[in-house]
């Protein structure tokens, strides 16, 4: 008997999601109920083997394209129905009692906490550009974020992180499985060669003193990061106008 099918049968009849550790405990406890040699053989299955078998099982379920699949949420495995069958399942078991959907500010704040944790309130505000007190209160109240420590900077501000409830609420396996996690964890923004900020006529319009020192200013425009290089036709036009 293959390990993955044994795990499948356990998960199928489990009343709550089970982690690989829980499954190991079930395997370890099985010999108490059976003298079978196969049962005894699996008594000391390492957690890693269980995790591998679960992955394989989940992949097989995915490929079989059934109406349900095996998923891992917050480290625990369970069978769930595919979302497209919700109308019928809903008719049977009724609507899920979920708290009201999160507001846009709450989602933004939550995203920042999720990707950047542990993070202080000030750091969140820096990213969002607005105060987050009210939103944080909501998130804390709903148990989606929690205090995880204190930053070792002046004032030792509280740092926040997401909870297991956060993973469960969004059906995410772990923080590593957040969408585009590695990219957002530490955003590296490439500074472009030059910044196109000027209005035509602004800054490049030569005042009195500029016409006097025409040559150096042209050179500066060519080297400067601000205007010159990316808008050569514009500069040329302006120069010719000045002439």
């Amino acid at each position: 008997m293959e390990l993955k099918f044994i795990l499948e049968s356990i998960l199928f009849s489990a009343q709550r999601p089970l982690s690989p550790k829980d499954l190991r405990d079930v395997l370890a406890g099985a010999p108490e109920h059976s003298e079978d040699a196969a049962v005894r053989a699996l008594k000391k299955t390492p957690v890693d083997n269980i995790a591998v078998a679960l992955e394989e099982l989940a992949r097989e379920h995915e490929q079989a394209q059934r109406s349900y699949r095996l998923v891992c949420v917050a480290g625990s495995w369970q069978f769930v129905t595919q979302p497209e069958f919700a109308p019928w399942v809903k008719a049977l078991v009724g609507h899920k009692s979920r708290p009201p959907r999160l507001s846009q500010p709450a989602l933004e704040t939550l995203a920042i906490v999720a990707y950047r944790q542990p993070i202080t309130r000030a750091e969140i505000e820096q990213v969002r550009g607005v105060a987050v007190d009210g939103v944080m209160a909501t998130l804390l109240e709903r148990g989606l974020v929690e205090q995880v420590g204190r930053a070792e900077v002046i004032g030792r501000p509280i740092t926040y992180g997401t909870t297991v409830a956060f993973l469960e609420y969004f059906g995410i396996r772990s923080l590593d499985d957040l969408p585009a996690a590695d990219e957002l964890r530490r955003i590296v923004v490439q500074k472009p060669e030059s910044l196109l900020t000027v209005d035509p006529g602004l800054a490049t319009t030569p005042p009195e003193q500029l016409t006097l020192t025409a040559a150096p200013s042209e050179g500066a425009a060519a080297e400067g990061p601000a205007s010159g290089r990316s808008e050569p036709p514009e500069t040329n036009r302006l120069v010719s106008d000045a002439d």
């Binding site: 199928f12 009849s13 489990a14 009343q15 709550r16 999601p17 349900y68 369970q78 069978f79 769930v80 129905t81 595919q82 979302p83 919700a86 399942v89 078991v93 899920k96 979920r98 959907r101 999160l102 846009q104 500010p105 989602l107 933004e108 939550l110 995203a111 920042i112 999720a114 990707y115 990213v127 969002r128 550009g129 607005v130 609420y169 969004f170 059906g171 957040l178 969408p179 585009a180 957002l184 955003i187 923004v189 500074k191 472009p192 910044l195 196109l196 900020t197 000027v198 209005d199 602004l202 800054a203 490049t204 005042p207 500029l210 200013s217 500066a220 425009a221 400067g224 601000a226 205007s227």
Partner: protein
């Protein structure tokens, strides 16, 4: 999101219509001659200055990196003007952003070589770059928030398999030992002993209790709960004869397989519970009838079903319709001669 502002036509608002602002105008009351009609304006409230800037950039349909910051500054300040005109509370963050945009714009007014080089390294301190970096970062988290929202909605549609614990009946765990008749007699003796002391032997009472009444009572009791303690059954008994009658009723029910008496441990409390396969007889049925029904059922269950094994059927005369399969039938029939 957003809130409604009431404004009047002819006010400075008309000027605002030219702005790239998310206004939606709706006349709430019909135009009535010289009377000034009210307009309702849907005014989008942005999450903050960065949100507004992103909106303005999106409106321009340009990349954040290619955005014209001076133009952006102009639009931003126009927006703030409108907010002020509409008497909206302007959050401090908007003013901070407006001032830094003004700073960027004013810096641009100077030729590159005359711009103030900020103290320290000028590269990192470029206010334009600082703003763009912040915008890009905020944009990424805004997108991430949108993805979380998708997950949130999706999660509403996903139902977990949550089986209930299978119900294996009342004694699902280890089957308890059946209490023997002697256990029951011992138990009832101890109860009788208690009543013995109070029994007044000089008076003679008529029999107030009947076995069938008590059967109804017991069935009613165990119908309510899963099990009934032996002692609880006799708790209300007031006389020796009542105990005896109740005991007889209990024995009758056990005999009818309506009831099982189990004992957790030696000398433990005896518990009475409904038999696993109850032959449901409505309460108040005559015990004799119930008994008869039980007997019939027991007979059906234990009756030897196959006809060939019946001694009165001769093994040499297979049923006429069996014809060809008669030979196959013989071994079974031949195993019976011992009965004859």
């Amino acid at each position: 999101m957003g809130h409604w502002v009431t404004i009047f036509p002819g006010s400075t608002f008309c000027r605002c219509q030219g702005l790239l602002l998310p206004f939606r105008m709706r006349r709430s009351t019909p135009w009535a001659g010289e009377r000034m009609a009210e307009y309702k304006v849907k005014f989008e409230v942005f999450e903050g200055p960065l949100d507004l800037l992103l909106y303005l950039i999106k409106k321009e349909e340009v990349d954040i990196y290619d955005v014209n910051l001076t133009q952006l500054a102009t639009q931003f300040i126009e927006y703030i003007e409108v907010m002020r005109m509409l008497d909206l509370e302007i959050a401090g963050e908007f003013l901070v952003m407006a001032s830094s945009l003004m700073y960027i714009k004013s810096r641009e007014l100077l030729p590159v070589d005359q711009q103030v080089v900020a103290e320290g390294e000028d590269e990192g301190e470029d206010p334009r770059w600082e703003l763009i970096r912040q915008l890009v970062e905020y944009k990424k988290f805004k997108d991430a928030a949108a993805q979380l929202q998708t997950l949130e909605q999706r999660q509403d549609e996903i139902y977990p398999r949550r089986p209930i614990k299978p119900d294996f009946g009342a004694d699902a765990g280890e089957p308890k030992a059946q209490a023997s008749l002697f256990d029951l007699i011992n138990a009832v003796n101890s109860i009788l002993k208690r009543l013995n002391q109070r029994e007044d032997l000089r008076d003679i009472f008529e029999d107030k209790w009947t076995v069938s009444e008590k059967i109804e009572y017991i069935l009613g009791e165990i119908g309510k709960g899963a099990s009934l303690k032996f002692s609880a059954l006799f708790a209300s008994a007031t006389s020796r004869s009542e105990v005896v009658v109740t005991f007889l009723a209990m024995l009758e029910l056990i005999r009818l397989r309506q009831l099982v008496a189990v004992q957790d441990s030696a000398f433990g409390e005896i518990e009475l519970s409904p038999a696993p396969v109850t032959t449901t007889s409505p309460p108040g049925v005559n015990p004799g009838e119930a008994y008869a029904a039980a007997v019939v059922q027991a007979a059906v269950e234990t009756a030897p079903a196959p006809t060939p094994s019946r001694p009165d059927v001769s093994p040499d005369t297979p049923p006429p319709d069996e014809g060809l399969s008669g030979a196959a039938h013989h071994p079974a029939a031949e195993s019976n001669p011992a009965v004859n």
